[in-house]
């Protein structure tokens, strides 16, 4: 069995008497894109910081790329934090070269790679511009480049898409997939469930510092079964709220996702839908990761 890129066992981290991590177990397989999910304040950032050696755990253990000391392998890890910035009065290429050099690259190699990365993210012409002269989106592309410029074996990306327009989002997505193709393990912490759905092979859902759901996305979805009816309709919002046999209804007005109650016959529900609205298409589908997320967090809240 290959060594996991990241392995947390019973991880505990306490701040001022509050447990931010409460016995967290986490396994990230090498060479995969892994989704680290959870509501705000659930412990995702603390998990990342502890995994990268920024925080020392109060209990449990962390193994990064086979090493029990994250600091010992920090040249092989990359990190794009959610709260990120750059030196405002520093030139772009100089800045990127500096961030490469603190990852252990030589001065010449840092220069070479920073020029190449600026070219890759479409900022070669701005290499001598001060960072503060760049838009937020362009700064984020530089920050992404800084996280992977040293070709890490494991890169942690915390909300890499926040604040990006669709074009830059697509570029960052391409860059993440490039990393994956090179064999880099990518830990993706994000609230954008459509990106998780599209890119992640495995996920871990954290709530109150504990893993409440984890595993391969395909397996998780299979466990839930095809229990969702997706309806394209013209009835407007709210028209499918009271359909019998439906547990939850997520209706945007043009497309509705009806989550079925356990052991309910989907055909019976479909007929009930047809009786109520004009339908242009209807199909039985797996639940989205967003649905699973909401259901799991609700269940976790109820059990607290």
């Amino acid at each position: 069995m290959p060594t996991p890129a990241l392995l947390c066992r019973q991880l505990i981290k306490t701040f001022d008497g509050t447990r931010a991590l409460d016995g967290l177990d986490l396994t990230v397989d090498a060479g995969t894109i892994f989704g680290l999910l959870g509501p705000n304040g659930s412990g995702k950032t603390t998990t990342i910081r502890t995994s990268l050696g920024i925080y020392k755990p109060d209990g449990g253990s962390v193994e990064v790329l086979g090493s029990g000391d994250p600091l010992a392998v920090r040249r092989r890890t990359g990190y794009l934090p959610e709260e990120r910035g750059l030196y405002a009065r520093m030139k772009l290429q100089e800045q990127l070269a500096f961030l490469a050099s603190i990852r252990g690259l030589s001065s010449a190699e840092s220069e070479r790679r920073s020029a190449a990365w600026l070219d890759r993210v479409g900022l070669a012409a701005r290499a001598q511009s001060l960072t503060r002269e760049l838009s937020k989106g362009n700064q984020q592309k530089v920050q992404f480049a800084a996280a992977v410029i040293h070709d890490p074996d494991l890169v942690v990306l915390d909300e890499p898409f926040s604040g990006l327009d669709p074009i830059n989002s697509r570029l960052v997505k391409e860059l993440i997939l490039e990393q994956r193709a090179k064999g880099t393990t990518v830990v993706l912490s994000t609230h954008r469930m459509e990106e998780v759905e599209a890119m992640c092979e495995s996920i871990c859902l954290i709530h109150h510092g504990r893993a409440v759901l984890s595993g391969r996305l395909r397996d998780i979805k299979a466990k839930y079964g095809r229990n969702t009816i997706v309806v394209e309709h013209s009835g407007g919002p709210g028209c499918l709220n009271q359909v019998p046999g439906v547990q939850t209804c997520d209706d945007g007005g043009r497309e509705a996702r009806l989550r079925l109650e356990p052991d309910v016959d989907p055909q019976r529900v479909m007929r009930a839908v047809l009786d109520r609205v004009e339908v242009s298409s209807m199909r039985l589908d797996e639940p989205r990761i967003e649905d699973i997320y909401l259901e799991t967090i609700s269940a976790s809240e109820r059990s607290q």
Binding site: I54, R74, T77, G78, P81, E83, G85, Y87, A88, L99
Partner: protein
């Protein structure tokens, strides 16, 4: 701790500091001002005061003629007496005329002599520029000489000898284990203050720059990007080394410029100023330069650590402005202590103060400059300073680890104490 990473952080900090406008302005301005001052003093002394046109208004004292004679005898500045008028009482019309001549710049000034009840004579000097102490001293001596001359009339005492007795100066020589050194309070005060101010300004400017950078790195969230690659201790050590490097660079430039300026300006400086006759080599000895470099480096290091700790506990530059008062306070106190040392270099208070690490750089340096203390005291001060810097660095590392990622809320003092103890 990775030395390579520390040096990478230090290099960036060093370049950021030495490229900053504050560094360039201060590095250039300080020697420029000193140089200009050194050039300006002899030039002013040599030109403007060389040829003065002075009138004498004698209102009933009868000293006008003898005063004029003595004023003409002054070598520097050369005084030309434009007129001597004698009246029984102060003539307002004559004063108006002379004031008018001063305003028209046809006269530089006039001396008015009046009878007085409690003194032999009341004398006042009216001029457009009446603040030159060297000129006033010469004028006072001339008036004293004229008055004494009249008092001694008929006694057989030579008034010229009395005058030369009046001009005798008291030369102060400091005796220490290292030998004798010319110059009294003035020289001691000037050299001690100059050294203290150099350290004070350099620490303040570069330390403040580093502190602001740390707060900016925190508030811009850049710090977490960096902490993904280096530890808090490596970051802090690099920062302090970088700022120490910039301080030493500034010091080296200043010393170089000062030595060149002194060598160039020394002959000119010795002419026409009160420093005449002082051997500059006795002020700027190799021993003093050595100890200055030692105390500058160590003091700079200790205060940089203190500044960095203050900065890391702040979350905005506004907070930093208030918090820096706490870090600057020991510097202000030690600057005041260094001034008091000048008049009392060997008291018990001074000795104790010079061994307290936050005061050692300035106070011990002042002691070394004024009255060389026993060698063991100096080196005990250095050892304590090194020890304090190591301890402060160790504590700062823990505080950095704790406070570097804190935003929104500042850590309290009890929290910091708990962190250091842990």
């Amino acid at each position: 701790m990775s030395l390579a990473l520390v040096l990478t952080i230090a290099r960036r900090e060093f370049l950021a500091r030495v490229r900053s406008k504050a560094f360039i302005v201060m590095t250039v301005l300080v020697p420029s001002f000193l140089g200009l001052y050194m050039l300006a003093v002899p030039m002013l002394a040599g030109s403007r005061n060389n040829d003065l046109r002075v009138a004498i208004l004698d209102a009933g004292t009868g000293l006008g003629a003898s005063l004029a004679e003595r004023l003409r005898a002054i070598e520097r500045p050369h005084i030309a007496i434009t007129q001597t008028s004698a009246t029984e009482a102060v003539d307002p019309t004559a004063r108006d005329r002379l004031n008018g001549a001063i305003r028209d710049r046809t006269l530089d000034g006039y001396l008015m002599l009046e009878r007085a009840e409690s003194a032999p004579v009341r004398v006042r000097y009216f001029a457009r520029q009446s603040g030159n102490p060297a000129l006033l001293r010469e004028l006072r001596l001339a008036v004293q000489s004229a008055v004494i001359g009249r008092l001694l009339e008929g006694t057989g005492v030579d008034s010229a000898r009395v005058r030369s007795a009046q001009e005798l100066d008291l030369g102060a020589v400091t005796v220490s284990d290292q030998g004798e050194r010319e110059g009294g309070f003035g020289v001691a005060f000037a050299s001690t203050m100059a050294l203290a101010m150099l350290l004070y300004i350099a620490v303040l400017i570069n330390g403040q720059g580093m502190a602001t950078a740390i707060v900016e790195e925190k508030s811009s969230r850049l710090i977490e990007v960096i902490l993904g690659a280096v530890t808090a201790t490596e970051f802090m050590t690099g920062k302090i080394l970088g700022v120490l490097g910039s301080g030493l660079t500034q010091l080296a430039i200043w010393i170089l410029v000062a030595v060149v300026a002194l060598l160039q300006a020394a002959p000119a400086l010795a002419i026409g100023t009160t420093m005449s006759g002082i051997d500059l080599s006795t002020i700027l000895s190799a021993r003093l330069i050595f100890y200055f470099a030692v105390f500058f480096s160590l003091g700079y290091l200790l205060y940089s650590i203190l500044f960095s700790v203050v900065a890391v506990t702040c979350t905005s530059t506004e907070e930093l402005g208030q918090a820096m008062m706490a870090a600057v306070l020991p510097m202000v106190v030690s600057l005041m202590a260094a001034i008091s040392v000048i008049s009392n270099p060997a008291t018990t208070t001074t000795r104790v103060l010079s061994l307290i690490p936050v005061f050692t750089p300035l106070v011990m340096l002042a002691r070394v400059n004024l009255l060389m203390p026993p060698l063991w005291e100096v080196w005990l001060g250095i050892a304590l300073l090194v020890g304090a810097s190591i301890t402060a660095g160790w504590a700062a590392g823990k505080i950095f680890q704790y406070a570097l990622l804190m935003t929104g809320k500042r850590p309290t003092l009890p929290e910091l104490i708990r962190v250091v103890k842990a």
